[in-house]
């Protein structure tokens, strides 16, 4: 086994590497793998999730199909959309859709985000004569039956995350994801007038959460509680739906909001690469842990607006490439469990690749080299890692991911399986 070098030299190889890595974790039921999220990790259940991991994969394969014309990518799109449809429960929610809380159902914003991506994929499929009309039923059940009914907050005129009496709380990313879904859905069905009011409510809710002054101006608060800081990643998730809404409705207020978001995100670039994690009014910004996938998602959002010049993109690309691993995946994050970024031995969570973050990196590289014809063979590798305050090792092969604390195996997952063989980490 070799230690970490820079095993991937360019975007085209990165696309091939990530496709090869995803192949090692994709089972019959879908893309498997542990999740390391902002708020919690889900290591004990690694089964096929139906969360935002599909976003980057579906859009990436769509770009790949458009650039190469290879039916392999169409097959991937069709299979994924059908898997999503099969995972739907009777109330419109989806099994295993909570990412870091998997296998819970009803994950927000994962479900609407995943469905919006599925609708975009359907467009490509339909144009290639492989339409999936049954998807309409799935989306209607989720959107009309769940998001706009069970989760609609009649008081605040936005969506909630849970079917509980949380009437004072309105998160921004869920509103953005549902707005995205509405726009994609009405774009397909041509029934925009039925959803005009709700879309307007959601756009207005997001505009209301935008910080208007100070160093955080343009950022969207994570919720109407406003106390938790502003996340550039969460803000970036509002960019595409608001931009599309502004174009469709010709709403000047929303256009101005989009411009402010873009300007805010551009200001959050870190000198070395990547983006700040959280900004606060009352204390310095937090950078740890800096998820590479989150930075890639911000880049994707800015790229979709054409807001990044090639020189800046190239800088971020080279920053991402410097964190590639021989398995084909990219390092998960920087600075887990650290007082200062880059200090000391990386934590095991910095290495553990999570499908819900890797897909965003995949999309970034697909945008850079959609016509990639490179090949990549995943290789086993290992690296020192801090594991619960002690020296340990992170190692990955094509079949397993293993974390050792000292010599003791504290985590062992056989790829594609639903549950790890050993799980002493939380």
């Amino acid at each position: 086994m070799n230690s970490v070098q820079q095993p991937i030299a360019d975007a085209a190889t990165a696309v091939a590497a990530l496709e090869a890595w995803f192949a090692t974790v994709t089972s019959e039921g879908g893309v498997t793998g542990p999740a390391t999220g902002f708020r919690a990790n889900c290591l004990g259940w690694c089964g096929p999730g139906h969360d935002w991991r599909h976003e980057g994969l579906l859009e990436g394969h769509s770009l790949r199909y458009q650039a190469t014309g290879s039916p392999v990518h169409l097959d991937h799109l069709e299979k994924t959309v059908r898997l999503i449809m099969a995972a739907q429960l009777g109330d419109g929610s989806f099994r295993n859709s909570y990412f870091e809380w998997n296998p819970f159902e009803g994950g927000m914003p994962h479900e609407p985000a995943m469905l919006a991506a599925a609708l975009r994929a359907r467009k490509i499929l339909a144009a290639s004569g492989r339409d999936i009309p049954e998807l309409a039923e799935t989306v209607a059940r989720a959107l009309d039956g769940r998001h706009l009914r069970l989760l609609w907050n009649k008081t605040l005129h936005t969506v909630r995350d849970w079917e509980i009496s949380d009437y004072q709380f309105g998160p921004s990313i869920s509103a953005a994801a549902v707005l995205d879904l509405i726009l994609e859905w009405t774009g397909w069905q041509g029934n925009g007038e039925n959803y005009e009011e709700r879309a307007g409510n959601l756009a207005s809710w997001l505009r209301g959460l935008q910080e208007s002054t100070g160093p955080m101006a343009g950022g969207i608060h994570t919720s109407n509680r406003r106390g938790g800081g502003i996340s550039p990643f969460y803000t970036s998730r509002c960019l595409a739906p608001l931009s599309l809404y502004a174009r469709r409705s010709d709403c000047r207020e929303t256009s101005s909001c989009v411009e402010k978001i873009t300007s805010f995100l551009l200001r959050q670039q870190q000198p070395g690469g990547g983006f700040t994690r959280l900004l606060w009014n009352w204390r310095p910004a937090s950078s740890n842990p800096l998820h590479l996938g989150a930075s890639a998602a911000i880049l994707n959002a800015l790229q979709s607006q054409g807001a990044l010049p090639e020189s800046v993109l190239a800088r971020h690309e080279s920053w991402l490439l410097s964190h590639a691993t021989p398995s084909g995946a990219f390092r998960n994050a920087l600075g887990y469990g650290k007082f200062f970024p880059g200090s000391g031995t990386p934590d095991w969570r910095d290495w553990m690749p999570s499908p819900g973050w890797q897909d965003k990196i995949y999309l970034f590289f697909c945008r850079r080299a959609a016509d990639s014809k490179s090949t990549f063979t995943p290789r086993p590798w290992s690296t020192p890692a801090t594991v619960r305050h002690r020296a340990g090792t992170y190692q990955e092969s094509t079949d397993t991911i293993e974390v050792l604390r000292g010599r003791e195996t504290v985590y062992l997952w056989k790829k594609k399986s639903t549950t790890p063989l050993v799980c002493r980490l939380t």
Binding site: W45, W101, P103, E163, I164, S165, P284, S286, G337, T418
Partner: protein
């Protein structure tokens, strides 16, 4: 139950009052003001101390005012948002502030019951909402002068639920003739469910579902989200899936399933049809509730419901050694003596099977619980998760496991007391302006939520993994 005509006899009245239930789920249909006025008009026919009639009712049907009312009164009940009409009840107590029999409060109580009965007679559903934390805030939200006291709200609307009627206590148990004849400590003793009989517990669990239940048709009930979005719940569901993966055709049993939360996550984690899922509880009502919930999600029910066959004894209707993974989420806390239950768990457990049992830890400073217990101001329904159920110290429960023929294969603690120290450290670091350190400690707190260090013995909940011993 609307009668339409006057009560002509006693039995009709008895049927009417027995048929009245509190409504927690309402239709999206406005209630005409004239009807509200009629209901209030009927309610103020109630007797009033010295005929003072110092009551006042503020009818709220504006959603914006409801939001303000909820915020200021800190009511936090979904009915307050969902019910089309809220009637805030006020009484001017300035004339009788020191009445020894609290006649003002009694008068308000009589009028409130009058409101509920009148609503029922008009075919409406209603519920009295007294669980508000700040009644003064209600006055503030509605611009009521301070000499009025708020006595809660009545939520009113067309009903969209049909909960089972609670069984009233037998009349004989609430009557004494000429002299009080009940044991002195009866009520304080009785509020602790682990001292109840199994029949009492079964009845309570049956009703509790409609109190702590789940969302139905877009309307929400008062639910504490903590149970589901807690690491211990997640840990339990996920660990059960890991253990089930060790068996070719696993049989999973959720012991005392209640609302089916654990059961649903087991099905999510493993997949419908990939294991045999069994739910077990005490009453047919609980079975109906779980079935109703699962029917909303699955076209074919992915589990079998097992009902306790005997009213006075816990007996799982399964053969010996038939369960591979058994989950029991904070259910032993409801029993004074857990050994008979554990023996039953041991009996049905496969020789290679595992029981995952979560109990409340005795050595964690449950300050909230103790404070409420000392003040005796707990309410069973609302504070079920934080109420005065039994707590176990590790050696006590482990002795019970041993006695039942179960050995501890692993034990973890959830929410250890050390988290509090980390929290204090984080707060100090923030005050000192050491942001990076505070962030680091905050992250450590998240990582340390489930622990296997020494502090697991001082955790809010103890998570046990048990295997059957070879000798019984």
């Amino acid at each position: 139950m609307a009668l339409g005509s006057a009560f002509v006899d006693g039995p009709a009245y008895s049927r009417f009052v027995a048929g009245r239930n509190s409504t927690r789920v309402y239709q999206d249909k406005p209630v005409p003001r004239v009807l509200v006025e009629k209901i209030i008009g009927d309610a103020i026919e109630a007797p009033t101390s010295c005929n003072r009639q110092l009551w006042h009712f503020v009818v709220v049907d504006d959603p914006a005012v409801k939001v303000r009312l909820n915020k200021e009164s800190d009511a936090q009940q979904s009915y307050l948002h969902d019910a089309p009409v809220i009637i805030a009840i006020f009484y001017d107590t300035s004339l009788e502030p020191r009445n020894p029999c609290n006649t003002a409060q009694v008068t308000v109580g009589m009028a409130t019951y009058g409101l509920l009965l009148a609503a029922e007679a008009e075919g409406l559903g209603a519920i009295y909402l007294g669980g508000i934390r700040n009644p003064r805030g209600a006055c503030k939200a509605l611009g009521v002068p301070p000499f009025w006291s708020n006595y809660g709200f009545v939520c009113l609307g067309y009903r969209a639920d049909n909960p089972p009627a609670p069984i009233p206590r037998p009349v004989a148990s609430v009557i004494s003739y000429n002299r009080y004849d009940l044991p002195e400590k009866r009520y304080h003793m009785d509020i602790r469910p682990h001292l109840w009989s199994l029949t009492q517990l079964a009845d309570f669990r049956d009703k509790l579902l409609w109190y702590k239940g789940i969302a139905i048709d877009g309307k929400t009930l008062h639910v504490d989200p903590d149970a589901r979005f807690s690491r211990k719940f997640h840990h339990l569901a996920v660990r059960a899936a890991q253990l089930a993966a060790l068996h070719a055709k696993p049989v999973l049993l959720d012991f005392f399933s209640l609302n089916g939360d654990v059961l649903l996550q087991l099905v999510n984690a493993i997949g419908p049809g990939k294991a045999r899922y069994l739910a077990y509880d005490l009453t047919p009502g609980i079975g109906d509730f779980i079935a109703e919930r699962f029917r909303r999600l699955f076209s074919v029910l992915p589990y079998e419901y097992l009902q306790n066959p005997e009213p006075d004894k816990v007996r799982i209707p399964l053969e010996d050694g038939s369960v591979h993974v058994l989950t029991c989420y904070e259910r032993l806390d409801q029993f004074e003596d857990p050994v008979p239950l554990l023996k039953e768990i041991r009996r049905v457990l496969h020789p290679g099977g595992t029981a995952l049992i979560v109990v409340s830890g005795r050595f964690y400073p449950h300050l909230y619980r103790y404070r409420r217990m000392r003040k005796k101001n707990y309410a069973l329904g609302r504070n079920w998760n934080r109420g005065p159920e039994r707590k176990y110290n590790p050696s006590e429960i482990e002795a019970a496991f041993k006695q039942a023929g179960l050995m501890v294969a692993d034990m973890a603690g959830h929410q250890p007391v050390t988290l509090k120290f980390l929290q204090w450290g984080e707060q100090l670091a923030r005050k000192a302006g050491w942001t990076a350190g505070a962030d680091r400690l905050a992250a450590e707190r998240t990582d340390h939520l489930i622990t296997r260090w020494f502090d697991r013995f001082f955790s809010s909940s103890l998570i046990y993994e048990l295997r059957p011993t070879t000798d019984r």
